[in-house]
Amino acid sequence: MSEDYRSMWTDLGLDLVAHDALLSVLGQGYQDIYLSQKNRPEGMAYFDFVMSEVHGLRIKELLDEKAAGRKIVGSFCVFVPEELVLAANATLVGLCSGADFATEDVERLLPRNTCALIKSSFGFKLGKVCPYLESADMIVGENTCDGKKKAYESLGGLVNNLYVMDLPQVKSANGKALLKAEYQRFKAALEDLTGVAITKESLKDAIHTVNAKRAAIHRLSALRKADPAPISGLDALLANQVFFYDNPARFTESVNKICDELEKRIAAKQGVFPAKTPRILVSGCPQAVPNWKLPMIVEAAGAVIVGEESCVGERGTRHLTDASGETVEQMLDAIVDRHFQVDCAIFTPNPDRLEHIQQMVADYHADGVIHYGLQFCQPYLMESMPVEKALEDRQIPCLRIETDYSMEDVGQLKTRIEAFVEQLK
């Protein structure tokens, strides 16, 4: 850390000893996994800086915003519409859920067979190591899978600012009406929190800001279609992860700058790996910071990841919100339409996801798909079987992985992934 943030962390109520331990593991992991990569785009220096300051400067910025009267809203899910949050003069941040922490304490509140992502969100709270969570004026939970919706009942006892959003599970007219009603309720809750009424001007601005951020990621994704791939899957995943934390305008600018550089690389036929390196699409559960386990193994095994069909990836970012509405009501409808297209596995049935995976395989010229499932994540593990079958029916090799955040299965995963890469060569 370039500045001493200890008093800031103390004020936020963090456990400094535990937090130091977390930062040291995170820093070492980033060094070993990210900084050791070869041929990285120079523009990734921005993300290196963001990661080095992820609990420092970024938190200070958020606290400065708070001091100036803005509110901070924390979320765990892409169904929480950033447009509404920004329009109400608040900032949306993703909350930490990508590493095991305080597991023993967590298992006093949650069954052992709960997915790593849910356990992690509790671990960061119980271990007092997430400055985002501690800075948040409102924490939004959402009724996605059974694990999350029941876990929020317990999380509600640990924090005093939890807001739970209900979500539909069927893509029907009733489902959409529910989403709209919930977004209206959320809008009112935000206005109540910030004391700022959402206007058509503020909402239109917010839609443009968030669309610009998504468009920058779309541009980055499209460049990954090139062979040789101009950016590693690890670095592209990082950009998708930082999407949830960074100042939106600065993020957009930085990603576009990287894209300018990648375009030059592609024109010069320069890649991060040689041409004809086996290309892999990762599909499935979200990979939150600092969960870099799968891409680390895949890219060390001599393949490159060219896309993520994931909430931290294209599932979360692929649609823009129609900005043509002239009233708050029309724009709210556009936000509902946009988010109702997200093909999360909590929906039944969920044919759009299957189609999107195949579309991504074709668009990114993927040679195979690795389905990434978190252990005990019923919705995605259930879908992994029809996904595998649909792909294999089309002669697209698929490897289903089921894992968690621990490192004990890395040896096994390496063998399986290396064998899968051999299969693609």
């Binding site: 294999e392 090799p397 089921e402 004990e408 299965d409 040896g411 096994q412 390496k414 063998t415 399986r416 290396e418 064998a419 051999e422 299969q423």
Partner: protein, 252 residues
């Protein structure tokens, strides 16, 4: 003299080394326990033979790659290559080794089509059988033949080594016949292996490789369970090393 190609399979339980000549004929083979210092054992083995190129496989392959500047290949591809060399008509392979097991389906050209591997624990592997044999007072060599002498099979429901051991202990305490318990244990491993094979391949000949294929009861039960022809090589534990040696030649 022509070129010589070596394959070394550094497994959890044993290390095998096979050397082939330019016609793929096996000219040397060695085997020893992995012990607690696999690289020292591997070094001792390769010092005794001469070869031009070597390819490593097995869980110790990456360590070997760093220590001896060798090429590497996964056990999956190595077993596929080795088994196909011996049995040109097989459609699938079941490999049960010391601490893992895999089912591999092949394309007609011998390439790997699909595979499955057991997860993190040793359930359904050689280690499981070894511990169960010890619990019942059999040597590893006698465990399969003794089980085949049983008239009935007792159902063992636990696949976890720790739980199965307590289940076996309680069966012993009830005075059950230990051969029947042994047969039940073999059957429980076969149920799991057959499930893996069926998920990747539904018909055709199968090669049974890995050290556990030396156990005659396993091969018998597998063939009964699947109703498909099972081919067991003379030295099933060497197939990974053989495949690696053949791949070393093909990489040349």
């Amino acid at each position: 003299m022509g070129q010589r190609y070596a394959g070394i399979d550094i497994g959890s339980r044993t290390i095998e080394l096979v050397v082939v000549d330019e016609t793929d004929a096996i000219i040397e083979s060695q085997e020893r326990d992995t012990g607690f210092d696999p690289m020292a054992e591997a070094k001792g083995m390769i010092e005794k033979v001469s070869f031009d190129r070597i390819m490593a496989t097995g869980y110790g392959r990456n360590l070997f790659e760093i220590s001896f500047d060798a090429m590497t290949v996964t056990e999956i591809k190595a077993h596929a290559r080795g088994a196909r060399a011996l049995f040109p008509d097989i459609q699938a392979i079941i490999d049960i080794g010391g601490q893992d097991s895999k089912a591999i389906a092949l394309f007609d050209n011998g390439r790997v089509k699909k595979f499955e591997m057991n997860d993190r624990c040793a359930a359904g592997t050689g280690k499981f059988l070894e511990i169960m044999a010890r619990t019942l007072g059999f040597s590893i060599e006698d465990f399969g033949p003794e089980a085949l002498l049983a008239e009935n099979s007792l159902n063992i429901s636990s696949m976890c080594t720790v739980f199965a051991e307590s289940e076996v202990t309680s069966l012993i305490a009830k005075g059950e016949n230990r051969r029947e318990i042994a047969l039940g244990l073999h059957a429980s491993v076969i149920r799991r292996a057959a499930g893996m094979i069926n998920r990747v391949s539904t018909d055709g000949e199968i090669a049974f490789t890995g050290g556990v294929a030396n156990n005659p009861c396993m091969a018998t039960l597998l063939s009964e369970k699947l109703g498909r022809p099972i081919r067991v090589p003379e030295h099933p534990q060497r197939i990974g090393a053989l495949g690696a040696a053949l791949l070393a030649r093909e990489a040349d």
